[in-house]
């Protein structure tokens, strides 16, 4: 997208309308003045190391600047405007990012597209090594999330919340869940207990919630297992944590739930084939874990999209999910208006928004609501005519 072209002007106008109308009532994360703020304008490159003393200063800034995207740091600093080494890190929210990109949903085969950064032509399917039109190798995958992808991300978010509340004992009111504005969910934990832990500890938490590094040996499921080992190491009925989840899964799948006492259950398990047991354990790990991006969780200096601001590729808002169950990512975060606008669109997958489906379009000029146009423009499929 060229600076000053019709599409960018249109997009900025729409963003301006939104900020004019809504910025005044936006809420920001606690401890705003200790966080670094960064933004990308419609023209020019990213500015970082800003800080705002009060929410109202930031609101005024959004209205005046109409940024293309705005980020805040998960970390708190004594001097957020100084370069990283001198900021004085004081702590950071514990954050999790669930991105449809990491979920490998089967539908991705249907909606994956690439765009050539040299000649802007778009291709269907997985990104090849060079552009089929201009033969340049400069191709970028267009990341697209359909309702199925987003559903899957929601499922992982629910699992994450279960683990955070049950295992880590984090009160639900110290956790906020957001739709990221595009491809998934951000979960922020504001907890005195976890704010000062370092990168290594965070990375171990990331492994925990994503089920990585479990030693199956700890369950004595090896081929050399003996009844007594199993009796000692197999989780008691209704055990907690991962061992408990895996144990319960095995008991349920082998249909031993009603059997008592535990010795009986164990003796049944000890007769089951090792490979079966290992598979069941691995199933449990993948069934109950949350597929998060571990690099986000372990980074104590991460910057994330600011809640209430618009996503530069979709025009949708990063929105707090008050009730995750009923949250609909194809309607709830849509804040751009529905005035029709004429755009030329090429090779876009079907787009579900506001209970309608737009496309698939292939080299055609269509008149569609502004909210849909902005998303197709932001992703690179459309231009205002």
């Amino acid at each position: 997208m060229q600076i000053g072209d019709k599409s960018t002007i249109f997009m900025k106008e729409q963003f301006k309308k939104y900020y004019d109308k809504s910025a005044g009532s936006l809420n920001f994360p606690e401890r705003l003045s200790e966080r670094e703020i960064g933004y990308i304008p419609f023209q020019g490159s990213m500015t970082r190391h800003l800080s705002f003393g009060t929410p109202s200063e930031l609101r005024t800034f959004l209205i005046r600047e109409v940024p293309r995207s705005v980020h805040y740091s998960s970390g708190y600093y004594s001097a957020p405007t100084l370069p990283m080494a001198q900021k004085g890190w004081k702590g950071a929210d514990l954050i999790f990012d669930i991105d449809t990109d990491d979920l490998h949903t089967p539908c991705q085969a249907e909606h994956s597209r690439w765009i050539c950064t040299a000649c802007s032509s778009i291709g269907v399917g997985k990104r090849p090594t060079q552009c089929s039109k201009c033969k340049q190798p400069r191709l970028k995958a267009i990341k697209w999330s359909c309702p199925k992808c987003l559903d899957s991300a929601k499922g992982d978010t629910v699992k994450l919340l279960d683990i955070l509340c049950d295992d880590f004992g984090i009160p639900r009111n110290e956790i906020e869940v957001f739709f990221s504005g595009s491809r998934g969910y951000h979960v922020s934990v504001y907890s005195k207990k976890y704010e000062s832990i370092d990168q290594m500890a965070r990375s171990d938490i990331a492994d925990y919630v994503s089920g990585k590094g479990f030693l199956l040996g700890a369950l004595s499921l090896s081929s050399k297992r003996r009844y007594n080992d199993l009796l000692r190491s197999f989780p008691e009925a209704n055990g907690e944590g991962w061992k408990g989840r895996i144990g319960n899964h095995i008991v349920n799948k082998l249909d031993l739930g009603a059997i008592e006492p535990m010795e009986q259950v164990i003796s049944q398990i000890s007769k089951t084939k090792t490979t079966t047991l290992r598979h069941l354990a691995e199933d449990a790990l993948s069934l109950f874990s949350a597929r998060i991006d571990p690099t986000v969780t372990s980074d104590v200096h991460r910057i994330l999209r600011l809640q209430g601001t618009l996503h530069n590729e979709t025009g949708m808002m990063k929105k707090k999910c008050v009730d995750l169950d009923t949250f609909d990512p194809t309607t709830d975060p849509v804040v751009i208006g529905d005035e029709p606008v004429k755009v030329i669109v090429d090779k876009s997958p079907p787009l579900s928004m506001m209970e309608k489906i737009f496309g698939p379009y292939s080299s055609e000029t269509v008149e569609i609501p502004s909210f849909a146009a902005i998303l197709l423009i932001g992703k690179g499929f459309a231009k205002v005519v």
């Binding site: 980020h71 976890y194 290594m200 990375s203 925990y208 907690e240 061992k243 408990g244």
Partner: protein, 350 residues
């Protein structure tokens, strides 16, 4: 004098607790007194404590008189401090802590409870009888900030029963955590001792100790990236120089990395001198194997950042580790500030 919590025998075993310090004060022995023949046993024991920390064995727990044990502890601290050798301070702290670990493993629940309360900076709770053998619980956050430094799969959070913000632990696990805490306490105390003026006899002992102490692991910076080694390498070296056990993955990584940046087999083997289970023959065989001089003759690559991260060996520094996939690339890519800002831009979750 009996303190309400601990008996004299306990103080002899745990000479770093407050009550042991009180006992030392009450005995009112000056450094000058220690030169007298009456205190020979104390001086000998103090020297032995120090020497054993760099010898093969851990500090012995032979049956000395409780007061000899209690008095020899601060004296051995003074000897170590006076040596001015940083690596001796580290080794000494570790070996005192390991000795205590041995005692703790044999203690009853009540004594343990008292020790935890008196020295730990975090609470240890009774685990109830929910899980057999898991007699204790600690808060997840207290556990994590300590467990990650052990760098073994067994210490990963996922391999523990975690519920309601607590981690269930066996006695040996808690004792291991305590050992770490004690090592820390002793090391900090050593650092905080001001300059000491020792009487002549003791000064001579210090000189002898300095002579006997093996040299520390030195990291030659030849061949290292100009901005220094990556954090993951520094960490492995730190473990080794403390005389602690670097687990298999860490050893493999350190060796392959060093070979890759051009160190020779002997230089690499030298780095492992301090490992508690050092065996020159085995080390040589392993390192030569990695260098491709033996076996399949494949020269091994240094593991990727991703592999290191899953093994808890990655300590990513956000500036210089950005965008690299293998520690070998560290210091070869970072070019000035602009580059960093740009990469941070891409890193933002958008």
């Amino acid at each position: 004098m009996d303190s309400p919590g601990f008996g004299l025998d306990d103080l002899a075993k745990y000479p770093f607790v407050q009550e042991a310090g009180d006992r030392v004060k009450a005995l009112d022995v000056s450094l000058q007194d220690l030169e007298k023949p009456d205190f020979k046993a104390v001086v000998d024991r103090a020297r032995e404590r120090v020497e054993e920390s760099f010898g093969k064995r851990n500090i012995s727990s032979m049956n000395h008189q409780p007061d000899v044990e209690i008095l020899s502890f601060p004296l051995s601290m003074a000897l170590v401090k006076a040596s001015g050798l940083d690596h001796l301070m580290r080794r000494y702290s570790l070996s005192e802590a390991k000795k205590v670990e041995g005692f703790l493993e044999r203690e009853s629940r009540e004594v343990l409870k008292r020790i935890f309360d008196s020295i730990l900076s975090f609470p240890v709770y009774d685990g109830g009888d929910r899980y057999k053998g898991l007699d204790y619980t600690v808060n997840v956050e207290d556990f994590l900030i300590r467990s990650v430094h052990f760098h073994t799969p067994e210490w990963k959070l996922i391999n523990h029963v975690v519920s309601g913000g607590r981690v269930y632990l066996r006695k040996t696990d808690v004792v291991r955590l305590v050992r770490e805490e004690i090592r820390d306490i002793i090391e900090k105390r050593l650092k905080n001792i001001g300059p000491i003026k020792l009487p002549e006899k003791l000064s001579i002992i210090v000189q002898e100790i300095i002579q006997e102490t093996p040299p520390p692991v030195i990291m030659e910076t030849i061949g290292a990236p100009s901005i220094g080694y990556p954090p993951c390498i520094n960490h492995c070296v730190e473990i080794l120089s403390k005389g602690e056990n670097l687990h298999h993955m860490g050893r493999l990584f350190l060796a392959t990395y060093m070979l890759k940046i051009g160190k020779n087999v002997d230089e690499v083997i030298d780095m492992y001198h301090n490992a508690p289970d050092w065996n020159p023959r085995v080390s040589r065989y392993q390192v030569e194997h990695l260098a491709g001089l033996r076996g399949g003759r494949t020269k091994y690559n240094s593991p990727s950042c991703k592999t290191l991260a899953t093994n808890n060996l990655c300590f990513r520094d956000p500036k210089n580790c950005f965008g690299i996939r293998n520690p070998i690339q560290y210091g070869r890519r970072a070019k000035g500030k602009d580059k960093v800002t740009k990469s941070n831009q891409l890193k933002a979750k958008i």
